[in-house]
Subunit: 342 residues, 2 copies
DNA sequence: CTGAAAGCGCTTACAG
DNA sequence: CTGAAAGCGCTTACAG
């Protein structure tokens, strides 16, 4: 945008009768001294002209920007919307703008965006839940992120398994394990899990945690009991249908994420199944919709906003050695699951 | 971020053995001619060095930026998350980054953000559903937006009543009117509306539309039948409770937004009411959660993503006279409402 | 404390 | 077609 209207520092300086340099210092450095009344004059001039420093000029001069990049799967997904809400809130308090990009879980897009954000010279890049198992992709990401970091950028991943930058690790394994325990204790012995693509580290961890939890009680989750669909509501719908066709129906379905569980419940309801009367359903994540689900959804509730806040805070730290924060959540046993023998 | 690593155009030029100017032209203008093989040399040099133009330098030189600002109420709200999803998708196709800010319906914040975004020299500012009735606020917004526009910025409002920039008008009045008609035809005669703050133009329009629709059938919506709460799930919870205490309960509750209706249903269920057996509930907006609601929510479904896309497309037009696009939606009669006499 | 000047990395008239 | 140079709006050593 061409802007002949906007006042430049030059204009402020002239109006206040000082040099460019002095105006810059007065405006930028509160500890700067100066002749009596000078500071007031400069401030008044800036105010009168509605002066707003041009961030591009500043970025160019200082090699620093007031933008941070936030990489999510999809804003429309409540899980990411809540993470984003937390991150944006913290950014706001630091007078930073956040550029949000959606990868739709496409590794190429992810790479491309990291590149774009780095090229934009954003101050930090936050990657949420987008770690893939793909080795070559991981290597490329590492390379790019390291270059970005070497150039002074800050990187934070909300996931595990990234070899560069700070990390906010979500206790996917432990959470699912707790959920498994609770479900077994409730009386369940046969399960089916609706999982997303095993390319996703998050999926892998949650499946692993669930298996571990069952194994703690001597229950084995067979390969066939894990359905690989999409990590979305639609994936849940598809998964529920597949499960309903099996000869031996499990007493409990576990969705790898709340949206998956909600999709499953939707399909089950539509096809005459009672939840939890005919079959129990549990989720993972703790998005608000889990509470409004009918029946309310048993899940492992993650402090999503807090996770987003933590990630942004980490991103805004002055350069420091890799830092790792572990985040866990709380089990919420609700009416979507119950003892199958009752 | 200090970046001594990044290749500059200078480096590319040297490697290719041409001047800065030529390198710039080769990279930027595909129609530019040049000695045989020159273009290839420059391209190869850029590729080899991993050259990425510094957007701040470019912005400074051309007074143009590749960022656009998106002002929403709250990302966590599904309505805005879906609008954002549409807008971000279009921006992506145009290689633009979007800076998202949340106002939480605070007029001061809104003003402050518009200022920030304008100062950032974003190419366009999209304001979604944040029109307030406050006169002095509106005047200030108009002033700022006009200055921004005069400076070459593009502004789009997803609401009505803005005197500057393009508009995407949502048919709140007509939609609510249709909903009212359908509800009356279903057999309802007594209603209560859970509305948000009447400071919001959106609320005002939806209430108006609903009243009009009832009046078409000779039904008067009294002042007491409109509850002013928050335009949120919690507002719906609070509203439902208030309604339940009334001597004469209406046969149908209408939430000014889907989340409000969902909150109301939640409260009703928790307190032993059957929906729609004891009371019907309808919403407005058409967020996906309306479908998963139990019972599925009767609502007026807006094409939220499409609205977001349209707004972004308008924002990206070359400077043109004010443009106005009307968007309407479709009535979805679902199980949350039914004939009270049945 | 204050100012003249260089420099950040681009683009684009202006000459050749 | 090509290059030397000015300029975009800041910040910050470098002198005074």
């Amino acid at each position: 945008m061409v802007d002949r209207t906007a006042a430049r520092l030059q204009d402020v300086a002239e109006r206040a009768g000082v040099s460019l340099a002095t105006a810059s210092r007065m405006l930028g450095d509160p500890t700067y001294g100066g002749r009596a009344g000078l500071r007031e004059r400069v401030m008044a001039a800036a105010e009168a002209l509605g002066y707003r420093p041009n961030p591009h000029a500043r970025a160019l001069a200082t090699s620093t920007s007031s933008n941070v990049g936030l990489v999510v799967h999809d804003v429309r997904d409540a899980y990411f919307a809540h993470l984003s809400g937390g991150a944006i809130g913290v950014a706001e308090r630091h007078d930073l703008l956040v550029s949000m990009v959606c990868t739709y879980r496409d590794p190429h897009r992810e790479l491309e965006y990291v590149e774009r954000l780095a090229a934009q010279r954003v101050r930090a890049i936050i990657l949420t839940g987008t770690s893939f198992r793909d080795r070559s992709h991981a290597a490329q990401m590492t390379e790019r992120l390291e270059a970005y970091q070497a150039a002074g950028g800050s990187v934070v991943s909300v996931s595990r398994g990234r070899s560069v930058g700070h990390m906010v690790e979500i206790d996917n394994v432990g959470g699912m394990r707790q959920l498994a325990h609770a479900l077994v204790e409730q009386g369940h012995e046969s399960f089916a899990m609706i999982a997303g693509s095993s390319r996703l580290l998050t999926v892998q961890d949650r499946v692993k945690g669930f298996k571990l939890g069952l194994k703690d009680h001597g229950i084995e989750l067979g390969h066939d009991d894990i359905l690989t669909t999409e990590m979305s509501r639609e994936g849940g719908v598809a998964g529920a249908e597949l499960i309903s066709h099996r000869r031996r129906r499990p007493t409990c379905i576990v969705g790898v994420a709340d949206v998956v569980a909600i999709g499953a419940i939707s399909w089950l309801h539509a096809h005459g199944f009672d939840v939890p009367g005919d079959i129990s359903v549990a989720g993972f994540g703790g998005i608000p919709a889990a509470i409004d689900s009918v029946p309310p959804l048993t899940t492992f509730e993650l402090p999503l906003e807090h996770i987003g806040q933590t990630a942004m805070e980490l991103a805004l730290r002055p350069p420091s050695p890799r830092h790792m924060v572990e985040m866990t959540g709380e089990l919420r046993m609700r009416e979507s699951t119950r003892d199958p023998r009752s």
